[in-house]
């Protein structure tokens, strides 16, 4: 992460914009925990004091004495960066099952468009927390979600009985045996019951599975 941060902060086009993102993110982290960061705090993480001070010239932060606070525009931008970062963490950790996702998440937060961000958020079912337990700032799609209560992809354990569902991905240990029964990504299934074990219908095939296997099958409504 150190190497990467160093590289993107100091080289190439758009380096200033990336540095602004990083600065705002760092300030957000402190504010979230109830602290007011000093210039020294931020410089300790990102290095270059002159560039940190330059962010204030762009109108995103104000520096009073050596204390830093976010301007309204800075707050909005910090919120978006943090949201993208934490959504990326969730995506890498939960769906792709990657252990060292941090560096990639740092990279990701700068490059994805609002449409991709919304897609990921919806795919993940509008998660409230990042893998470290920090809150993910809500986006427009999440506010819509609280009205519709309908995540796009969820585990089979959260599905309704009788629902017709399409398998998006499977992370269960019995992946290959499920595949042998026709249960693969893209297959359509109907959930017959959840207790005492899960029973699903795939075409004319009926399969019983336990909760552990079911929790690894992710589906969306047809």
């Amino acid at each position: 992460m150190q190497d990467f941060a160093h590289k993107i902060l100091h080289d190439g086009p758009g380096a200033q914009s990336l540095f602004e993102d990083e600065t705002l993110e760092t300030v957000w982290d402190f504010v979230e925990l109830g602290h007011t960061p000093t210039v020294a705090d931020v410089v300790a993480r990102l290095g270059d004091e002159a560039r940190v001070r330059a962010v204030s010239l762009a109108g995103f932060i104000t520096i009073a004495g050596d204390r830093i606070s976010l301007t309204p525009a800075g707050k909005q931008r910090a919120r978006d960066v943090v949201r993208r970062h934490r959504l990326a963490e969730r995506l890498f950790a939960d769906v792709l099952d990657i252990k060292d996702y941090e560096a990639d998440a740092c990279h990701f937060e700068h490059v994805i468009s609002p449409a991709v961000e919304e897609g990921i958020c919806t795919l993940l079912g509008h998660p409230p927390l990042c893998p470290h337990g920090k809150p993910i700032p809500k986006g427009a799609c999440c506010k819509l979600y609280t009205r519709k209560l309908e995540p796009l992809v969820h585990s089979l354990t959260d599905a309704e009985i009788g629902a017709l569902l399409k398998v998006t991905f499977i992370t269960s240990p019995g992946l290959q045996r499920l595949a042998g029964l026709g249960l693969v990504p893209g297959a359509t299934l109907r959930l017959q019951q959840k207790l005492p074990a899960f029973v699903i219908n795939i075409g004319e095939t009926t399969v019983a599975i336990d909760r552990a296997v079911a929790s690894g099958i992710f589906v969306r409504h047809v």
Partner: protein
Amino acid sequence: MEIHAGTAARKSPEERVALVGTPNVGKSVIFGLLTGTYATVSNYPGTTVEVTRGNAVVHGRRLECIDTPGINSIVPMSEDEQVTRNILLAERPLTVLQVADSKNLARALLITLQMAELELPVILDLNMVDEARDRGIRLDTRALGRALGVEVVRTVAPERKGLAELRRALAGGAAAVPSAAVRYPKIIEDYAGRIAALLPPAAGPGRALALMVLSRDETLGPRLRCALEPAAIETVERLRGECERAFARPVGPAIHEARLRRAHELADAVTTRIAASPYPIMRILGTACTHPLWGAFALAAVLLGLYAFVGVLGAGVLVDLFEDGLFNGYVNPFLTSAVQLLVPTQFLRDMLVGPYGVITMALTYAFAIILPITATFFLAFGVLEDTGYLPRLAVMVDRIFQLMGLSGKAVLPMVLGLGCGTMAVLTTRVLETRRDRLIATFLLALAVPCAAQLGVIMGMLGGLSLTAFAIWFGCLGAVLLTAGRLAALVVPGESAGFILEIPPFRLPSARNVLLKTGHRVVWYLREAVPLFIYGTLALFLLDKARLLDTLQAAMAPIIMDFLDLPREATTAFLIGFLRRDYGAAGLHALRDQGMLDPVQTLVSLLTMTLFVPCLAHFLMMIKERGFKAAAFMFLIITVVAITAGGALNWALRALAIPLG
């Protein structure tokens, strides 16, 4: 899952035909119709766990038919699937008669496509066309035949419909290697080609093997080590690694998905669906059996029905009729006087009709006590099997089995163990991991009484009180759960997770149930009666040599002091190792003679139930799990049985519970 005495002699068949297909599609029924050899038929996946062979003569040609365990793919997931895969690779030349479930065509075609890769000639039999029709599924057989490049016939096997066409296709040598093929992603095709080029032609169909290697089929290892130099194996593994890195997502699932997609394309092109009645009665019943509430009622009804039929009718009414009425009333007095008249020496007379006589003990136990019980049990069990209730039972008890480190799937061998433990050990092959098979084998040997034994036990406990029955059942359940829980903690490895296909609920055919019961009873008598006779002879000789007294004296500290039982009970436990039901019958006789009080009855029954399995069962454990594991289980079981019996004896006497 029966153990068949060798089927018809293997005299140079003109052709070898393997019946292959997904589980529970009727391969064994068709096998039976073609060969006249009986292979067990039930309505749940995994009935056939080992291979049965038989000869069929169709239009003058003699074919050797092989009934194989069902497979979902040629990449095996369990031991029984591996058996089939090995036949497909090793026994060539070979024709495949693929039996398909018409209502699940895509899954069948997945296998047909793999037969094409294995370069095996195929005849495709669309079985159960009646069930497909009831569900509004119409298949265009001719179009399917053209698309696949193979002969397609339609059958309804239990009704023998389409059998003539099937025979004609087999006789005419109509089998052809399917021309339909799967196109895999380019990277996979490239590497499959490069790996196939390394394999010698003798190893088998190169492309199919290469795809198995890329699917990470570990069971292929020994085969490759046989066919290839170590250096070549290294190259193959290197290529596989390269392919996985180049493809950047799991290769095995991608191969499977490509096959499945093609199978669905082919199936969709020949399938027409029309609306069918959405709530047929059998489907409602089938769904009810796994429902959390109705399923519990169904389970209670099944248990009650079993108790009424086997416990009351079999072990009660019929045993009384046979034992007191027929044998003690007519057969034994008649044979005893005949022996007294005809046999010259007292020694031989005692051997036949004495207290340890072959007729008065072995045959009376076998035919008067055990036969009515096993026959009623197998009859009831056959009905349950053929409806498809057992996999639904697995759904109901999955959570309880999870406590024991197993999944609901293990209920199949366990319930079969109520029929005969020896058979059941063989059926543990349907479980996916070695750990699951070990735990299931152990629990079967420890705490699952076989029907014959169960019948005797129920008869004796019925004579006591409901409390006695509840105590026996409770102790057995407690031991089963505790031992299972401990085994789950001790045995290394992970449980496979519960994934079980549920077959349609069907009305059982009386013909199959009767046929199956008949076969099982005959099989049972063949297994049991000789051992009953040997056991009795051994007891007789021990008695004559005055060794029985010595043995009883030697066992006295355990039997008499610890378990508080009469010394004669030693005999029952001794013969109990030959056959547990025989041991139970021995206790039954002791009780009849008034030598066991209620507490002793209960203690001896619990100990006998938990006691080491019979000889045949033990031999099967050695065969399936290896000597070390089997011997270790034997040791643990002996200790647990005696400890539990002793503890129960102490508790019953300390608490002075009235048993009736």
